[in-house]
């Protein structure tokens, strides 16, 4: 695969062509999943959440690093904000802020464990990412009094 990233002006930008495109495509998947409500698991509770919408965020974080993970997380958050049908999700701090960290935590776990066992690293990263999402959102929800 041609990778000219290191060779010319792109170096000055924090986003290479590859990262831009992958971030874009993963964001598209995120929006698609949310908008068509595919795989929306509703467990009647205070926080009814889309449990697979964060998968592209984790993929972005693990495959392309924290910047891409944060971008896709941002899209996830913004989308969740726009779409939110309960008051908790209409709050920027609940819908968007925790989502920014999903990609970062997944990435951190992945690079930490990758030398041990790549497959396990991915699995644990996914779990940690999901937890960041759930705990983060619930936590912010509680903090903000919902």
């Amino acid at each position: 695969m041609l990778d000219l990233d290191g060779d010319y002006a792109m170096r000055e930008s924090s986003l290479s062509v590859r990262k831009i495109v992958i971030a874009g495509v993963l964001s598209a998947i995120t929006i698609l999943l949310g908008w068509t409500r595919l795989g929306f698991i509703t467990v009647p509770s205070i926080v009814a959440d889309a449990t697979i919408m964060h998968v592209p965020v984790i993929v972005g974080g693990v495959v392309e690093g924290p910047v891409v993970g944060t971008i896709v997380g941002l899209i996830f958050g913004v989308f969740s904000f726009i779409q939110g049908t309960i008051p908790a999700f209409k709050d920027v701090l609940v819908a968007i802020l925790p989502r920014l960290f999903i990609g970062i935590t997944a990435w951190l776990v992945y690079i930490a464990l990758k030398r041990v066992n790549r497959y396990a690293a991915v699995v644990v990263a996914s779990v940690v990412g999901s937890l960041t999402n759930t705990v983060g959102v619930l936590g912010m929800g509680v903090v903000r009094g919902y």
Binding site: S14, V21, V25, T36, K90
Partner: protein, 285 residues
């Protein structure tokens, strides 16, 4: 099981051509107006405020000459969930909401169920907020070409370049996302059809689907991701072949024109939203 057609539901991201007033506005105006109105909507709790906002939204829809039916169809996938949550809110959240400008009155209390005028208000306000935001968002993308939209975002973010924000790159991410959305929707549709033809338990979509297991989702997600990454690789190659080098020093063929109508709309929405925000606790009910 109804026919699987996803493109029906992607009302966001679809440009619907037209020559209305709204269509002709500068994208920066529309984006700003969208932001201002979103803020106003987010923080308005009273019935009156929401009624006003709803009317304003509908007014904009009419001004844009986009069919309301079309916008409502974007609501369809969300309906069962909205209903479920509305019922939940209504029945169980009695304690959580102090109603606006009213004494909390318990209307019905049986065990866990606790309906108050507060929870009723919460439901109504939440639903109207949702509809308003849905319409506004769809309107924005229905009346603005994607390229214009991203030029607008980039133009608005450009001043922050000095702070290290890669404005152009980010708007490109958004362009790509919006561009791929209908493509991936179609692909998802094809994949689901193929899997359904093999007997995969897709879609009993009319009813509430409580649990979709990881396995059921894998039949869609795995091929979808594979396809998405394949397209991504093609695009990356194409961009590199064209020597794409980021936003630094990049000029643009399309120049956005901000004219008097834009200034007027911008000013009006700004003032209106500010007023709604400042006066949000002053409405009678």
């Amino acid at each position: 099981m109804e026919s699987i057609q996803f493109q029906r539901y992607i009302t966001i991201g679809q440009y619907v051509a037209g020559r209305s007033l709204i269509h002709r506005l500068d994208p920066r105006t529309k984006l700003s107006a969208f932001l201002f109105l979103t803020l106003a909507i987010t923080f308005s709790r009273s019935y009156t405020a929401n009624a006003i906002l709803l009317l304003v939204t509908l007014g904009l829809v009419l001004a844009a000459r986009v069919s309301i039916r079309y916008l409502l169809s974007g609501l369809r996938p969300a309906l069962p969930f909205i209903l479920l949550l509305a019922i939940m809110q209504l029945l169980f959240y009695g304690n959580a909401y102090v109603p606006y400008r009213m004494e909390p009155v318990t209307l019905w209390r049986v065990g866990w169920i606790h309906v108050t005028n507060g929870s009723i208000q919460a439901v109504i306000v939440s639903t109207s907020r949702f509809v308003e935001l849905l319409f506004l968002t769809s309107l924005l993308t229905n009346t603005t070409r994607l390229t214009d939209l991203t030029h607008g975002i980039e133009a608005m973010l450009r001043p922050y370049r000095r702070l290290g924000l890669p404005a152009h790159e980010l708007s490109l991410v958004a362009t790509i996302a919006l561009r791929f959305l209908p493509l991936l929707a179609e692909q998802a549709e094809n994949i689901l059809k193929a899997q359904a033809s093999r007997g995969a338990p897709i879609a009993q979509r009319g009813r509430l689907q409580f649990v979709a297991t990881a396995r059921q989702l894998a039949v869609l997600l795995v091929p979808l991701f594979v396809d998405a990454f394949r397209r991504a690789e093609d695009l990356i190659l194409a961009m590199q072949a064209r020597c794409y080098a980021g936003g630094r020093g990049r000029t643009c063929y399309v120049q956005l024109q901000f004219d008097r109508t834009d200034a007027l709309v911008y000013g009006l929405t700004l003032v209106f939203s500010a007023a709604m925000l400042v006066l949000r606790n002053w409405f009678p009910i």
